[in-house]
């Protein structure tokens, strides 16, 4: 290669994580992030946005201090333009515009969900997989078809991460509940009955949370956690198997914050086996929201000339995965 690959600064800020990273090609040069954990209850958008506003300057300063080259070597500023919580997105966009103006480098508006997919495509061998994207705010089955990432199935109400955290709070487990539920579940013995519904390749979790809450009074926390994981993961597994079977894509990629759950990883690995497909998962430290994924997706935008003029850089809180024109895949 004669021309060196572009250097991209990535800014993630759609919910409770502020992430800043610098990458070049497939190489992660710097990666910083910090996450807001509310003292109790769920995320309040305004509080999370205030947190991001405090964190971004610190993180960016740290990154710029550690840059192995001058800041004007950076070729583009990528930021999470949506979907996400309005106040958080606006804070992040404000930071991104400022950096872009200061360095006089193009702005790149990245779709957060697409970024989770591009992270997996960059750092695992997965090329054209069925993507199971599981996080606190989103749960989708995604695959590339006719110029776009199509959503084959998704949650019809709350995301799996949100469901786990909500149940965790109900059982007074520390926030975020997901990892604690995973630990508790390992000690579970009895499978308690919960509803099991799947509609096409879509699913819903809020009814399952309600049913699980009712079990807390009369059963051990570990049995409730165990049963909740068994049921919800079985549904995700079945939807994934359907997607593999229908599209014949031959590989599956697990990504998003909940992808760090080892039990879910094992289950999806078995699903891949069942459909003679290969299985990939993003590394644990990059499963949750981060600036690296935004920068990787930003690289594709820059390479395909998809530059965002500042006057058109308003945030898109409801930006859907399948609205993005994916010009970088033939």
């Amino acid at each position: 290669m004669t021309i060196s690959e572009p250097i991209i600064l990535g800014l993630e800020g759609t919910a409770h994580t502020a992430g800043v990273a610098v990458i070049q090609g497939k190489q992660i040069l710097l990666n910083e992030s910090s996450t807001y954990f509310p003292p109790q209850g769920g995320i309040h958008p305004r509080e999370a946005a205030n947190y991001l506003a405090k964190q971004f300057p610190k993180l960016i300063e740290k990154i710029f201090q550690n840059l192995p080259f001058k800041a004007d070597k950076i070729d583009g500023i990528a930021f999470s333009q949506g979907p996400g919580l309005g106040p958080c997105l606006r804070t992040t966009a404000t930071v991104a515009r400022a950096v872009s103006l200061k360095l006089n480098k193009p702005l790149l508006g990245v779709n957060h969900c697409v970024a989770h997919v591009e992270l997996g495509r960059t750092i695992t061998p997965a090329n054209d997989p069925i993507v199971l994207y599981v996080s606190g705010g989103n749960t989708q089955l995604i695959t590339f078809l006719n110029g776009r990432y199509r959503v084959l199935g998704e949650t019809l109400d709350i995301a799996i991460g949100n469901a786990l955290d909500t149940l965790g709070r109900e059982m007074n487990l520390p926030h975020p509940g997901g990892p604690h539920i995973e630990k508790q579940a390992q000690r579970g013995k009895d499978l308690l009955q919960l509803p099991y519904t799947i509609k096409g390749m879509s699913f819903s979790f809020s009814g399952m949370v309600t049913a699980a809450k009712k079990l807390i009074a009369n059963h051990s926390i570990s049995d409730v956690c165990y049963s909740f994981q068994e049921y919800t993961f079985a549904i995700l597994a079945e939807a994934t198997e359907r997607a593999l079977s229908c599209t014949k894509k031959g590989s599956v990629l697990l990504t998003g914050g909940v992808a760090a759950n080892a039990h879910l990883q094992n289950i999806i690995k078995e699903v891949a086996n069942e459909q003679d497909s290969s299985y990939y998962v993003v590394p644990r430290n990059l499963a949750g929201d981060n600036g690296v994924m935004i920068a990787f997706a930003g690289t594709h935008l820059l390479n395909s000339g998809d530059i965002l003029p500042i006057q058109k850089s308003q945030v898109k809180p409801r930006w859907r995965t399948d609205q993005v024109k994916v010009r970088w895949i033939p």
Binding site: V151, L152, L191, K199, G200, A237, E238, S245, I267, R320
Partner: protein, 220 residues
């Protein structure tokens, strides 16, 4: 006849849930649908689901056939082994068909599918998994419905709306002309089942409830 012997015959298709084998019964070709256990889920969940779906499929398919909806004839059921024996249909699944035909050629097929679903719903029968992978197009572009494991008998408008929303969603995921084809489908649906306008209204409600629905994806 021991169905397990027939299983030695050639596999013709592998779905997400089941393996389909071809066999013959009194010289007629039959399809043997075997729901396999899945190692990735708890055996209790696995048994519960497979048994429930086997029973539902047998019941709902039979009801659909009685009212004149085109479905394979159910010829036998083996509950212990999770096996259904079905009439084998010649044809291509809708998903493959859509690859080979232009929109104008697909429209008459979607009209007929709409009529079949209208007939189903006017008799309070829910398919439960109405995707482009579960409609089989036979000779002379005649659609038949398969895979009723998630089906049920219900007069709830919500269940009917779920059916047509599932159909629209899988269509939208694979087909650029999804809006035209879906409106042709609706034309057939409403023609047979005028009260189906409530189904459609409910479908739009569910859609707007769902998260991040893009404005251009909402149906007017």
């Amino acid at each position: 006849m021991d169905p397990m012997n027939l299983l030695k015959k050639g596999q013709i298709a592998k779905g997400a849930e089941a393996i389909i084998y071809r066999g013959t019964f009194l010289q007629d070709p039959i399809a043997i649908k075997h729901r396999l256990p899945k190692a990735y889920r708890h055996p209790d969940i696995d048994n519960r689901i497979r048994l429930h779906r086997l029973r539902s499929e047998a019941k709902v398919m039979t009801s659909a056939r009685k009212i004149g909806v085109s479905v394979p004839c159910l010829m036998g059921i083996d509950i212990q082994n999770h096996i259904l024996i079905l009439e084998s249909l010649e044809g291509k699944i809708l998903f493959e068909k859509m690859d080979s035909l232009p929109t104008e050629k697909l429209q008459p097929i979607f009209l007929k599918i709409g009529r079949q679903i209208g007939l189903l719903h006017s008799n309070d029968i829910i398919h439960g998994d109405l995707t482009v992978f579960n409609v089989l197009i036979q000779l002379e572009e005649k659609p038949s419905l398969i895979d009723f494991g998630l089906g049920k008998i219900s007069n709830e408008v919500e269940a009917k709306a779920d059916d047509i929303l599932t159909f629209y969603s899988t269509l939208k995921a694979i087909e650029p002309a999804s809006k035209i084809l879906f409106s042709t489908f609706l034309e057939g649906y409403l023609g047979v089942y005028p009260e189906g306008k409530n189904t459609y209204e409910q479908m739009k409600k569910i859609q707007s409830r769902a998260r991040y629905i893009a404005r251009e994806d909402r149906l007017e």
